[in-house]
């Protein structure tokens, strides 16, 4: 058990969990609030519950736990690490879901929780994809690049979300759910099957 704990510690999972707790507390405080989409389009008037946006922060924090400073040693391991990488991703996702559920205690409506769950899964998938494409230090890149344009440009002139703006779709939207799930699956496949970029091999935290 201890080496598995070292595996998780080596990826700074405890730090990610703690930071996620702070984000969850903020989400609890803002549980009933809506984030007005800024008027970059001037004509729109659309609000997105905070709890649907906070998952981005969870995903970005959890994405920092995709980096291992011992990649060089792990590359030459006799042990099949893919299973552990997969479990690690599942654990990250579970942590994200738990932190996403915390605002329920503060009366978060169920439909908002549904969109939060979808978003934490989807943004974590983006973080994994970003980590493998750009390096784990840039795991935040695709989630932030997605959420910015989505919030600011993702509402059409008819005051409904654009088809591509999956994070701000209502909680039961099937297409958005499939996109989020697909991103997560793709991200998991990349993490498990593709090793970290060579430039990360000797990095410190």
């Amino acid at each position: 058990m201890r080496p598995v704990v070292l595996f998780a510690r080596g990826r700074e999972l405890p730090r990610a969990v703690l930071c996620g707790a702070v984000v969850a507390l903020v989400a609890v405080a803002l549980a009933g609030r809506a984030l007005e989409v800024p008027d970059i389009r001037y004509l729109t008037d659309y609000s997105v519950p905070i709890a649907a946006v906070v998952p981005v922060a969870h995903a970005v924090v959890l994405g920092t736990a995709l980096f291992s400073p011992m990649a060089v040693l792990e590359e030459g391991a006799a042990r099949l690490l893919r299973w552990y990488e997969s479990l690690h991703v599942l654990l990250l996702t579970a942590v994200g879901l738990v932190w996403t559920a915390v605002p329920l205690l503060a009366g978060l409506p169920g439909h908002v929780f549904a969109s939060s769950v979808r978003n934490v899964v989807g943004f974590l998938g983006l973080a994994m994809i970003s980590a493998r494409l750009f390096g784990s230090g840039l795991a935040w890149l695709l989630p932030l690049v997605t959420v910015g344009p989505t919030l600011l440009l993702g509402v059409g002139p008819d005051n409904t979300p654009e088809f591509w703006a999956w994070p701000i779709q209502p909680g039961g939207n099937l297409g958005a759910t499939l996109v989020a799930a697909g991103l997560w699956v793709f991200g998991l496949a990349l993490v498990v099957c593709v090793g970290p970029r060579r430039s990360e091999r000797d990095e410190a935290l």
Binding site: R2, P3, L6, F7, R9, G10, S68, P69, M70, A71, V72, L73, E74, E75, G76, A77, A78, R79, L80, L81, R201, D202, E203, A204, L205
Partner: protein
């Protein structure tokens, strides 16, 4: 003297590791060109300038990569197939030229993690970690955090993680770089002790290390083997064959043509 003939492949039970006709290419660069070498028990040096292919050869021996052409046989088995590679890795120890570590891991935690990566059985793990730390004189620092260690201590911990699985083949990539003379002497003694129980392949460009520690040496230049034999045979290429750093250096420089990487016979150009 002209170019030394390389025969160099040891057959049968002498060799712990054998590389036959190995070629490795990185895009358009040929890092290793039809290299054939055998590594018996004892300490074998890979000597050569930067970019000669030493680290690439070590990566073949550690199963970190496979050659584009040729074959690698380790501990009597062809190094191919995922399951076989994983089993071979349980019997190989590697000290990379540089390795990352979690700064807040203690020395013991780091070596324990390495033992786990090498599939050391759980029941034996604590004892093997203790033995590895004792071998490198780091027992007193087992609870020290990695970020608090000096360069020499880090190298010793690196060797500890390389031998924690009691490997039959130990690969050391530039193990004495950055150490002061006293630390280097201590390392040589450590490597000699390793050589008594495992086959050790030592990649270095320090002639003194070769002279004091190694039984055999292979000289790599521009991805090709220029010499393989005993250290004494290398020293005998030039001069009286006295085995010391100067002799190794002279022999190497003779092979290299007086400049790094130059073809033999090109001295003075």
């Amino acid at each position: 003297m002209g170019q030394v003939d390389v025969g160099g492949v040891l057959a049968g039970g002498d060799a712990v590791a054998v590389v036959e006709g190995a070629t490795v290419r990185y895009r358009t660069v040929v890092a290793l060109d039809r290299v054939s070498l055998g590594f018996p028990a004892g300490v074998t040096a890979l000597l050569g300038p930067n970019g000669a292919g030493k680290s690439t050869l070590l990566s073949l021996l550690s199963t970190a990569r496979t050659p584009n052409e040729g074959s690698v046989t380790l501990l009597g088995q062809q190094a191919g197939g995922r399951a076989r590679v994983r089993r071979l890795r349980e019997r190989i120890g590697v000290l990379p030229q540089s390795f990352g570590y979690h700064p807040r891991f203690t020395v013991e935690e780091f070596v324990t993690y390495a033992a786990w990566l090498r599939n050391v059985p759980a029941g034996d793990r604590a004892r093997r970690v203790a033995d590895a730390l004792a071998l490198v004189d780091m027992t007193a620092y087992r609870d020290r955090r990695m970020r608090e260690l000096s360069g020499g201590m880090l190298r010793r911990v690196g060797i500890a993680q390389a031998v924690v699985n009691q490997p039959e083949l130990v690969l050391l990539d530039e193990p004495t770089v950055g150490l002061d003379p006293a630390q280097r002497v201590g390392f040589r003694e450590l490597i000699e002790r390793l050589g008594e129980r495992s086959a050790v392949v030592l990649s270095t460009h320090l002639a003194e290390d070769v002279a004091h520690v190694c039984d055999r040496v292979s000289v790599l230049l521009a991805g090709r083997v220029r010499f393989t034999g005993t250290v004494g045979e290398l020293c005998a290429l030039v001069g009286d064959g006295k085995v010391d750093g100067g002799g190794v250096e002279a022999g190497y420089l003779h092979l290299a043509g007086g400049t790094d990487g130059a073809e033999p016979g090109e001295a003075g150009r």
